[in-house]
Amino acid sequence: MITKKDVQYIAHLSRIHLTDEETEKLTTTLEDILGYIEKLNTLDVSTVKPTSHVLPLQNVFRRDLPRPSLSQADAIKSAPESHKGSFKVPQVIE
């Protein structure tokens, strides 16, 4: 059972502000979707190993060679606000 309070809590974890109307709506739709997902509980998976990835890959390394990378100018080119080659954000520490 998902409550409005749960939705507000998840929204904050997700760093998304929601209007009251959005909160209301999401409470219902998330409840519906999670209700559907409940069907997984009909399976016994106690002895099954989880799959996070289909390829049998582990620790892929490449050679540690210097090569050109993005310039500082290119890296901040799309930033909504920048200052002297850095990303600009509001004050973080009081």
């Binding site: 997700s14 502000h17 997902i37 997984l40 998976v45 080119k77 909504p80």
Partner: protein, 479 residues
């Protein structure tokens, strides 16, 4: 036939015989965009804007191509059809774009999609819907709906899409074109804006199988920039077009033909099966018992990965930045929360929330870990089938294209339209959709062929043999 209605292999043949000039093909495609795109809306960014070509310097493949709006093109607007990426111009090319540039392809622009590829109808795009070229009041499918519609409307010869749970194959099916999701790891994901990193693959959308093999040839291969791209040899996929399916063993999973499937879709698939039987292929019904759990598993895993991947859109490095008019929390948290409030659409918010929920403390084991375990069972269904069979045949979607607006108010019914395509991504295997008929309402029907990991050749072989005996892939829309 008009130049923009041709396939790439026809254009390339015409070029070698000096009877087709690629500049004329390009002009014909541009003209189609100008005439038809105001009503189809396959493209979200299609101004020439620095990606036009130089007529004097044609490469080997001067084929005009549409690129899904989540694949980075250097200095060209790349927005995932989202408000939050407004104004973003990537500082680099995706690996597939780099490869296509080297081959001489001509980029037409970025094709519409569901926002961040979250959807099955292209209706969640910030830029508005794309219409199905075969029937304008229907959806083109999604999320690569713009890419599929562009090819179907002859507003592109080729297109690239991306497929996380069916996003290439389902729109290909709805638009009557050929769409391939390659094996996970076959094509580099470097420069593909990530949705669910363990499921995403870039793939070709074309008018027929031969073109699909040609385009896969150009984009496949290992890439140091994507550590999940597979370091295994890439064959010439056109060599698989042998026209021969004699003695191939093909499975028909009975779970794909139960409730919810249109009778017309079912009939078309069984007609295709009869045709392949007549050509010597052997069919047998099998059971893939975990099929019914795929959608639930997918919507936990894909949204969990998405919630993490989309954390980067915070109003700092690129795209939209917004600040609430009144302080709610601290200034920096307010910046994140308001930017994401304004920048993401309803479906993106829903998926980020669902993913965050299943990863949150107290729910991880019940949802995320459980879904990863069910993923193992779904994959085992495929492993088991491929011990005895060369391929699996199913419908691509249970229905033909649905009406615009029909499923937007009911997310769950939208999710269920991917019921036949999702397992393939969870198992990481390749699958292709090709046209196999038209319903009475005039809309195309798609046949899905699923293969073993890294055996795209088998899909092309069967698909090509089928095309030899049918005309569906030659039908062109009249707009």
């Amino acid at each position: 036939m008009k130049l923009n209605e041709l396939t790439a292999h026809e254009i390339l043949k015409g070029m070698s015989e000096k009877c087709i000039n690629p500049a004329d093909v390009y002009r014909s495609v541009r003209e189609a965009i100008k005439t038809h795109d105001p009503k189809i809306h396959a493209y979200v960014h299609h101004e020439d804007d620095g990606i036009a070509f130089d007529e004097k310097k044609f490469g080997r493949f001067p084929i005009p191509i549409a690129i899904k709006d989540n694949i980075c093109i250097k200095n060209y607007p790349t927005t995932c059809a989202s408000h939050i990426l407004q104004g973003f111009r990537p500082p680099y090319d995706a690996t597939v774009i780099k490869k296509l540039r080297e081959a001489g392809l001509i980029f037409l622009g970025h094709a519409n999609m569901d926002e961040f590829a979250f959807g099955s109808s292209t209706e969640s795009s910030y830029f508005g819907v794309t219409r199905n070229p075969w029937k304008l009041d229907c959806v083109p499918g999604g999320s690569s709906g713009g890419s599929a519609a562009a090819v179907a409307a002859n507003e592109a010869i080729w297109a690239l899409g991306s497929d996380t749970g069916g996003s290439i194959r389902q729109p290909a099916s709805f638009c009557g074109v050929v769409g391939l999701k390659p094996t996970y790891g076959r094509v580099s994901r470097y420069g593909l804006i990530a949705f669910a990193s363990s499921l995403d693959q870039i793939g070709p959308i074309t008018k027929d199988i031969e073109d699909n093999a040609l385009l896969l040839n150009l984009i496949a291969g290992h890439d140091e920039m994507d550590s999940t791209s597979a370091d295994i040899p890439v064959p010439d996929f056109t060599h698989a077009l042998t026209k021969d399916v004699k003695d191939l063993k093909i499975a028909i999973p009975k779970e794909y033909f139960v409730e919810g499937i249109d009778e017309e879709v079912k009939t078309s698939i069984f007609d295709a099966i009869e045709l392949l039987k007549a050509k010597g292929a052997q069919f047998k019904e099998i059971s893939m018992p975990h099929t019914a759990y795929a959608v639930a598993t997918y919507y936990i895993l894909a949204t969990a990965e998405a919630s993490s991947n989309l954390a980067r859109f915070d109003g700092v490095q690129y795209g939209l930045r917004a600040q609430p008019s009144q302080q709610r929390r601290t200034p920096i948290i307010d910046l994140y929360e308001e930017t994401r409030h304004q920048g993401f659409g309803a479906e993106a918010k829903r998926r980020i929330m669902l993913g965050t929920y299943s990863l949150s403390s107290g729910y991880y084991d019940a949802y995320y870990l459980k879904a990863q375990k069910v993923r193992t069972l779904i994959k085992q269904d495929f492993d088991e089938a491929f011990k005895s069979f060369d391929a699996i045949i199913t419908p691509t979607a249970p229905t033909t294209a649905f009406k615009l607006g029909e499923k937007t108010s009911d997310p769950l019914s939208m999710y269920l339209s991917d019921i036949y395509t999702i397992s393939v991504n969870l198992a990481g295997v390749p699958a292709i959709s090709l046209p196999c008929g038209f319903a009475k309402n005039g809309l195309p029907i798609g046949l899905q062929i699923i293969g073993k990991p890294f055996d795209e050749e088998m899909l092309f072989r069967i698909g090509h043999a089928y095309e030899q005996a049918t005309e569906w892939h030659k039908k062109r829309v009249s707009l």
